[in-house]
């Protein structure tokens, strides 16, 4: 066990005029998660510290936050990687509700605009599955992993500059369907993504790829969508 200092940006709209920083000193192992320390503070030091979390092992997407300047899931970030002194802020670019909790609604709204569901014009076989080859399935495998944590979108300077930009996460979601051999909705989605606040706002900065806790090659997916739009308009 080692002493660690957590400097956390606090804000409670029912009493604070503006956010402030607060420091907590906790004992933690190198292999402890940042989330373990946050839970310890919440449960035994200051019950008012507020953050979302659920699965505690990086699959539900609840606890993305900015830890030492990087967007990480608190449950997947260990002290041995992050260091002894840890600064924690809410995700940038989304309105803060309280402490580390941000309003996800603008993010979810972008998500919903890309028609993030399977669209097929051909009826399925009357019995059995639609066929798809192992290779066809592989093309969109990476983007099926997305857990909608928003780490990518809220690390993107283009999104900070303009909240209307649909953002990398929504593009990842669209990619998952555009490249699915069984889906027929690509044209409609490419249309949406080809508009002014779609893929062209991406400046290939790679922050999203670096931020993704699921290891999705986000920038590559965005690039593939861009290419598809260019081909479809030829």
């Amino acid at each position: 066990m080692k002493k660690r200092t957590l400097k956390i940006k606090r804000f409670n709209p029912t009493k604070d005029k503006k956010p402030y920083w607060q420091e907590f000193v906790v004992e933690a192992e190198d292999t402890d998660r940042i989330l373990d320390a946050l839970n310890h503070i919440k449960w035994y030091v200051d019950g008012s510290l507020t953050m979302r979390r659920s699965c505690a092992h990086g699959i539900c997407g609840s606890d993305a936050m900015c830890i030492n300047g990087k967007n990480l899931l608190a449950c997947k970030a260990l002290f041995k990687e992050v260091g002894d002194d840890v600064t924690i802020e809410p995700l940038a670019g989304l309105p803060v509700i309280r402490d580390l909790v941000v309003d996800m609604e603008p993010f979810m709204e972008h998500y919903r605009t890309v028609l993030p569901y399977f669209i097929s014009e051909t009826p399925p076989p009357s019995y059995g599955e639609r066929l798809q080859s192992i290779e066809e399935r592989k093309i969109f495998d990476d983007t099926t992993k997305c857990i909608l944590c928003a780490a990518c979108t809220t690390s993107c300077p283009s999104f900070w500059a303009r909240g209307e930009y649909i953002g990398p996460s929504a593009i990842v979601q669209a990619h998952r369907f555009i490249f699915d051999s069984r889906d027929d909705g690509a044209a409609a989605r490419l249309d949406i993504l080809g508009n002014a606040d779609g893929v062209w706002r991406c400046r290939t900065i790679y922050n999203c790829t670096n931020a993704c806790p699921r290891g999705i090659e986000v920038t590559k997916a965005v690039g593939e969508v861009k290419k598809e739009i260019l081909f479809s308009t030829l």
């Binding site: 659920s54 569901y117 599955e129 969109f140 857990i147």
Partner: protein
């Protein structure tokens, strides 16, 4: 799944304390069981037999048959909704081996579990949510249900706490479906999310309605050492083996035919016995799960394990990496090890509630041991007990259970709701009741920490009401839980804010879990036999003469518990001795 069916026909609101995509179904790794027979011969009747045997004959066999038969269509339906299953070389849905699923003729493991890499649950959750968006289902995200409204013996709505604003809302309904998942957080080492606290099960108990078979809680054999994070059975399905400190593959001794792929209760007990015999690795309380190609291929040879084409089975590091991507990621992130090179340290972890809200085959809730239907209320998923899983659930049968019975429940709700008028409710009274409960917590002058109480409960339950149980241990648990409940009456919550007051809600959840823990311990204490996940050191055998029956537990208003029983439905499969 239910909302998808009701949403197309009648006004539907989905109320969830989490964003729906944060639900713990997203954590399910291995897959969903259905006898498609895509890779080798299989039949739904075999699936049904395996489920009944896995459940140690406590499953109601009529509903098991429905589930296993419906399984095939429902998996195709999910595929038609776009679910990205892995594929076979013919382009069909890929299937893998899982514990307890067998070819009933050869008794060997059969490839029945349909999978999408090792994130099948994630894909199911995403696909169903996507379809709900497509069909404009209404979502109330981050609204926590804190009470059900009953009038004239009928459920007529819910009271929900809006997490953002702290406001209480009444949802007046003709039908309510409960699908709130498990309560693994009653134990200290668990594969379950922090939010799996069994709120609605506790609410039902407090309103005088019973829980079925609560003593049957599954401990999954392979949780990551200390953390409890699940390492899917698919690791063993792909060939992984359990090894003790002597380098021995000990499952040979406990389940000579299917070995590491015996059902979960059997494997968890085997690990406990190895640990008790001092055969934990480095003298500690864990064993190794080895999926390194070297070890796996060695045992394939020893077992003469053949693939469908008749060739000797073998795996490569790349194959493991591809099929078990998330598992590799967990091991690397949390333990700094690579499963293709190093064995994984594991021990049993609290995993799945077989028991829960008693329901019929169309997810209608029963209000007593005589199967009287509680009008207006439905339940499906882990919180419900139909009971298909009996005393021990087979892997990949839960995802199946929740889609099959979610759909059936959804269908029936539509029919029943369409024929009905709104019943009268007193909304103010419903709100006042909950407000009083919360005020009592907020205004309490007590000094007890709800978090300390939760921790003590979790450690107690892990020590005394887990893989092996004794009369003394359970008696002690009941007594201690009663004391914890007393202490809970004077807790302290520091946060009085209306905005995102998770401290208040979490304290309230501790109260829910205490009730569930108590009912679990009491039901377990009463059952004087060993069956499935309920293994007693003082009654080591299954006792069909006296105990082939379901427990129906009521929580009385004075805090005492009344236990009643109802018979198990047996159709084709007569109880036999269970060997793997």
């Amino acid at each position: 799944m239910a909302a998808l069916y009701t949403g197309k026909e009648v006004d539907t609101a989905v109320i969830s304390k989490l964003y729906p995509t944060r639900s713990h179904t997203g954590a399910a790794q291995g897959g969903i069981g259905a006898a498609l027979g895509n890779l080798e011969e299989d039949h739904w009747e075999w699936h049904a037999f395996d489920t009944v045997k896995g459940g140690d004959y406590l499953s109601d066999q009529d509903v098991v048959e429905v589930m296993c038969k419906d399984a095939i269509d429902i998996v195709y339906e999910l595929e038609h909704m776009g679910l990205p299953f892995d594929r076979t070389s013919e382009g069909r849905i890929s299937q893998r081996r899982f514990g307890g699923h067998t070819n009933n003729k050869t008794k060997k493991a059969v490839m029945r579990t349909c999978n999408a890499a090792d994130r099948t649950g994630h894909m199911i959750l995403q696909t169903l949510y996507q379809q709900c968006i497509k069909n404009n289902v209404n979502f109330f995200d981050e609204f926590q249900v804190v009470d059900l409204i009953f009038e004239e013996g009928e459920c007529r709505g819910v009271v929900a706490y809006e997490i953002l604003t702290g406001e209480l809302h009444v949802f007046h309904a003709k039908g309510v479906m409960i699908a709130t998942g498990g309560w693994g957080r009653v134990w200290s080492v668990t594969s379950n999310a922090l939010t799996l606290t069994g709120d609605l099960n506790a609410i039902l108990l407090r309103n005088g309605y019973p829980m079925e078979d609560m003593e049957f809680f599954q401990f999954h054999p392979t949780g990551l050492h200390k953390l409890g994070i699940l390492i899917t059975e698919a690791v063993r399905g792909e060939g992984g083996v359990l090894i003790n400190s002597e380098g021995e593959r000990f499952m040979n001794r406990y389940a000579p035919t299917v070995k590491d792929l015996a059902s979960r209760d059997v494997v968890s007990r085997a690990i406990y016995l190895e640990l008790q015999a001092g055969k934990g690795i480095n003298g500690e309380r864990y064993v190794h799960l080895d999926i390194t190609p070297e070890t796996v291929n060695h045992y394939f040879k020893e077992d003469d394990a053949r693939a469908v084409d008749g060739k000797l089975r073998s795996i490569t590091a790349e194959y493991v990496q591809e099929k078990l991507e998330d598992i590799s990621d967990f091991c690397e992130t949390y333990l700094g090890i690579e499963p293709t090179k190093d064995p994984i340290p594991v021990h049993p972890t609290a995993h799945y509630a077989m028991g829960g809200i008693p329901t019929d085959v169309d997810s209608r809730v029963f209000s007593d041991e005589n199967n009287t239907i509680l009008s207006g209320l439905y339940s499906a998923g882990e919180c419900a007990c139909i009971s298909v899983h009996g005393a021990n659930r087979l892997g990949s049968n839960s995802l199946l259970d929740l889609v099959v019975f979610g759909k059936r429940g959804g269908h029936v709700m539509v029919q029943e709701v369409k024929e009905k008028e709104f019943g009268k409710i007193d909304a103010q009274k419903a709100i006042d009741k909950v407000q009083a409960e919360f005020d009592a917590i907020l205004n309490s002058k007590g000094q007890n920490s709800p978090n300390e109480i939760r921790e003590e409960m979790q450690i107690l339950m892990t020590d005394k009401v887990s893989v092996f149980r004794t009369k003394e241990g359970m008696q002690e648990s009941v007594a201690k839980l009663r004391k914890l409940k007393e202490r809970f009456k004077s807790i302290k919550v520091s946060d009085t804010s209306k905005c995102f007051n998770l401290e208040l809600l979490e304290a309230w959840e501790v109260g829910c879990m205490l009730d569930l823990a108590l009912v679990t311990a009491k039901s377990a204490l009463a059952r004087q036999e060993s069956r499935g996940a309920h293994a007693r050191e003082d009654y080591t055998e299954r006792d069909d003469a006296n105990w082939l029956k379901h427990t129906i537990a009521f929580l009385n208003s004075d805090g005492s518990i009344t236990l009643k029983y109802k018979p198990v439905t047996v159709t084709k499969y007569k109880p036999q001795k269970r060997v793997y």
